[in-house]
């Protein structure tokens, strides 16, 4: 390959250059940094972070706070995608979990007591886990395609949330519960703390154990994994439960600041955001290799995008347009076609990407 001679003084530099440019995260990271710098240039106070009443404030802090929900969703989504699946139901699960938590608080004698709040939280998370278990049952036990299996809950879930709230937008007052979404821990917004904690937890659970390798092997070749002794079925089931659980948590964290269970709109189209974060983070949608670190970049990029639209005084409704542009740009940049074009010209057809397999 010519890169080693043209782009670095030595072979090692060339290797590093190649690894950087070939890395899936390069373009999303570049986009994120560029976006943040552009915002900083446009609005000088953007990059400032101030400490007020022992709490961190500033645009960047808000950015982090807004990234928490997509990150939580994307963590679960990424594991599901690694197994070759997809979970379209997470948005509806967010709505269901929040609905059940708030409805419970609404009916409780003292919505502010710690026990009540803990129960409400447990109910919300529990419902998320149950929803995930249902998806997992459909996919792992019945062998139904993940897209359609999770679409069932995506369609029906919001109806169920409506049933829970009886069609009302339930609003309650419970400061402890509300602080899950709008409070601070040691000056850092609670959602950020929760997201970081969950991220660390999931990363440890996946990379310090064999779970990550098993997920990838299942996603690449399920039957071969089963024959190699991997518990494909229960492992798949587990990740759907995790995704459901995290969706429930995301619903609570996202809805807590408003304390209103709007079953129609909470988490609407959030599943698509989560999938977008996973893809921006360099994980391919067809399963196998996945990159948790990329999710952080993806989630930040998504929120930065939403924020930038406001900073540049564009109508906020145009956000999808920019999401589309970023998504298309990142995917096209990562596409084998373009990479092939950027490298040496190849002979023949699209099928000739894997020389050794070809020769075998």
């Amino acid at each position: 390959m010519t890169t080693s001679t043209t782009h670095g003084p030595g072979g090692r530099a060339g290797t590093i250059w190649r690894e950087v440019t070939q890395h899936g995260l390069l373009w999303p990271s570049v986009a994120l940094v560029a976006l943040l710098l552009a915002c900083g240039a446009k609005s000088p106070g953007f990059l400032d972070v101030t400490l007020r009443d022992d709490h961190l404030y500033g645009q960047l802090v808000d950015l982090l706070r807004n990234s928490a929900t997509p990150l939580l969703l994307a963590l679960g989504m990424c594991l599901v995608i690694a197994t070759g699946g997809i979970d379209l139901s997470v948005g509806a699960v967010m709505a269901m979990s929040l609905a059940v938590s708030l409805t419970y608080l609404d009916g409780a004698a003292d919505p502010s007591s710690p026990v009540t709040v803990a129960t409400a939280l447990a109910l919300g998370l529990g419902l998320g886990a149950v929803a995930g278990a249902f998806n997992g049952f459909m996919v792992a036990a019945l062998g139904i395609q993940p897209f359609i299996a999770t679409m069932i809950l995506m369609v029906a879930g919001r109806g169920v949330a409506m049933l829970i709230t009886e069609g009302q937008i339930t609003t309650v007052t419970s400061p402890p519960f509300k602080s899950l979404g709008s409070g601070f821990v040691l000056g850092v917004p609670t959602p950020v703390v929760i997201a970081v904690a969950v991220f660390v937890l999931v990363t440890l659970a996946v990379r310090r154990t064999a779970l990550g390798m098993f997920l990838e092997s299942i996603g690449i070749n399920r039957e071969a994994s089963r024959l190699a002794g991997v518990k494909a079925r229960s492992t798949t089931w587990t990740v759907y439960v995790i995704a459901g659980l995290l969706a429930g948590l995301a619903g609570i964290v996202y809805g807590a600041p408003t304390m209103a269970a709007d079953a129609n709109n909470i988490g609407l189209l959030r599943e698509l955001d989560a999938i977008m974060v996973v893809v921006l983070g360099g994980t391919r949608l067809d399963g196998g290799r996945f990159h948790l670190g990329g999710l952080v970049v993806g989630a930040l990029l998504l929120s930065a995008l939403e924020r930038a639209v406001i900073i540049f005084e564009l109508p906020s409704q145009t956000t999808p347009l920019f999401k589309a542009v970023v998504l298309i740009a990142v995917c096209v940049a990562a596409s084998p076609y373009l990479r092939g074009r950027l490298r040496t010209p190849r002979p023949g057809a699209r099928g000739a990407q894997r020389p050794v397999e070809v020769a075998a």
Binding site: A210, R226, K231, R343, G351, P355, A359
Partner: protein, 516 residues
């Protein structure tokens, strides 16, 4: 046989100086190939010799970097398969490349449907399809989905498709690898009819007997280079092999000696390691009994579809039996999953390496670690140092190439992939290793290495079940041979000088006189 097609200007296809380069690899380097009308031409070479690449150049799947392809004396350039087909070149691939969700008629006629105005006239199209199928003595309902037929029938449908396009050149890429004997005979009959009708046929097969039975001429490739073109009648098998491997075929003889000595020295008969009692699965394999002893290689002989793979899967927890059960060292044991078998020291190396063996996008290291890690559970990860040691040991012991544990396994050749899979199972320190077609589709070098390894493992006390389509190979390695036919175990013989491929074939052909 040979003087029938002597003239050189009989060439239907003349490929000269074909060179194809993939990033970093020269897959073909100035290869020539001449296919003559009314002749069966065999393309020979080890895996990686460039046979598939050459075929794909001929059929328009790959574009050539340099060199020319002339069909009927006209220089042509193929940018995609449809152009090659338009030039009269049809191909039947190893894994039948038809659409199994469409009907037989649709598959045979697709691209050449009978039309009435802007509409496809399905009734007439079906009749046409039936006509072509009947030319191949194939009496099946053209309306039936292709998926409802056996691979052999599907392959004949692919040939019928070649008739439809009025192919001048028919390429058969490993067409017999999943056919039984009768089906091969039927295929050969069809191929000979086509040959006599003046079609130029390119035949690729790993089975030397078939090549000698069918071909008039052969071209040998080695490492992407042209070695020579020979008349089949004038080239001995020994010479052919030495042309293919580039060295004398003595290596093969050596392994046989080694295994033969193993046969005489190792036949301990104390306690069976694993006993199958009336083990069977409906519609898959009928109930059979079997004892497997430590240090012994038991061969399963039988054609594809004889139930040998199914029996192996029942022994190793890959499938669950409907009848009977297993005893491990005398005590009953259930193996509901491959994992359960693995934890008891029973491993299965599956027949279909690509679909049921390798995890393509994982590294060699991860592929080796997978089964051992699975047996230890999800949460106790193998410490890095221990894993490195294991991987290193097997990569050296099995001579895995390239010697890089971080290479993706899908980039390895078939033989090396098979060795990685062997390493995967050996790393779990099994007591019983069931090898289903461990040497299929890999080159002779890797084949001998694997055969040698198997005998060594048995010498170390491992119990081995060895399944192969090549009867010679089974007889060369095994102390005992289980003969299977029609999903039944029909005989069990102790290997010895009186047991030859002929006697085993006789057993398979007979009506089960030797039934146990």
């Amino acid at each position: 046989m040979s003087d029938r097609n002597a003239q050189a200007d009989d060439a239907a296809v003349r490929m000269t100086g074909i060179t194809i380069t993939f990033p970093g690899v020269k897959a073909l380097d100035g290869v020539d190939l001449v296919l003559r009308r009314g002749e069966v031409h065999a393309l020979m070479g080890e895996n990686g010799a460039g046979k598939s690449t050459l075929i794909k150049a001929l059929t328009g799947v790959y574009r050539v970097d340099s060199g020319g392809i002339a069909v009927d004396g006209r220089e042509l350039r193929f940018d995609d398969p449809s152009q090659a087909q338009a030039a009269g070149i049809s191909t039947v691939y190893q894994e039948v490349n038809l659409c199994t969700n469409l009907t037989v008629a649709e598959n045979v006629m697709l691209g050449h449907e009978v039309r009435r105005g802007p509409f496809v006239d399905w009734r007439a199209t079906r009749q046409e399809a039936r006509r072509y199928l009947q030319r191949l003595n194939l009496d099946i309902d053209p309306r039936s989905p292709l998926a409802s037929h056996s691979i052999a029938v599907q392959q004949l449908c692919a040939i019928a498709r070649a008739l439809v396009v009025d192919a001048k050149v028919l390429v058969l890429d490993e067409p017999t690898s999943s056919l039984d004997k009768a089906e091969v005979a039927e295929l050969f009959r069809v191929v000979r009819t086509l040959r006599d009708a003046g079609v130029a046929i390119l035949f690729v097969s790993h089975f030397l007997e078939q090549v000698y039975a069918l071909s008039d001429r052969m071209t040998v490739l080695r490492n992407g280079r042209f070695v020579g073109e020979f008349r089949t009648a004038e080239l001995s098998r020994r010479d052919l092999i030495s042309h293919m491997v580039g060295r004398s075929g003595e290596a093969l003889a050596g392994i046989e000696e080694q295994a033969r000595t193993a046969v005489t020295t190792h036949s301990s008969r104390e306690t069976p390691l694993l006993t199958a009692v009336g083990l069977g699965k409906d519609g898959s394999v009928e109930a059979f009994d079997l004892d497997l002893y430590p240090g012994e290689i038991v061969g399963f002989a039988g054609l594809l579809g004889s139930g040998r793979t199914e029996a192996a899967r029942l022994l190793t927890g890959a499938d669950r039996p409907d009848h009977g059960g297993l005893r491990l060292q005398g005590s009953p044991v259930r193996l509901p999953t491959p994992l359960a078998a693995l934890r008891r020291g029973i491993a299965l190396s599956t027949e279909d390496r690509k679909k049921e063996g390798v995890i393509g996008d994982l590294t060699v290291r991860e592929n080796i670690a997978l089964a051992l890690q699975a047996s230890r559970g999800t949460w106790r990860r193998i410490p890095r140092r221990e894993l490195d040691e294991i991987v290193q040991r097997y990569m050296v012991a099995l001579n895995i190439n390239p010697p890089n544990p971080n290479a993706l396994i899908r980039n390895l050749s078939g033989g090396n992939q098979q060795k990685v899979l062997l390493a995967r199972w050996l790393a779990t320190a099994p007591r019983l290793l069931v090898l289903d077609e461990p040497t299929r589709g890999i080159d002779i070098g890797a084949k001998t290495e694997i055969q040698r390894l198997v005998t060594e493992l048995a010498a170390d006390g491992l119990s081995v079940v060895f399944i192969s389509s090549e009867l010679e190979e089974v007889l060369r390695l095994s102390q005992r041979v289980v003969v299977m036919r029609d999903r039944q175990k029909i005989a069990e013989v102790t290997n010895g000088d009186d047991v030859t491929t002929e006697t085993v074939l006789e057993t398979i052909a007979s009506s089960g006189v030797h039934a146990s």
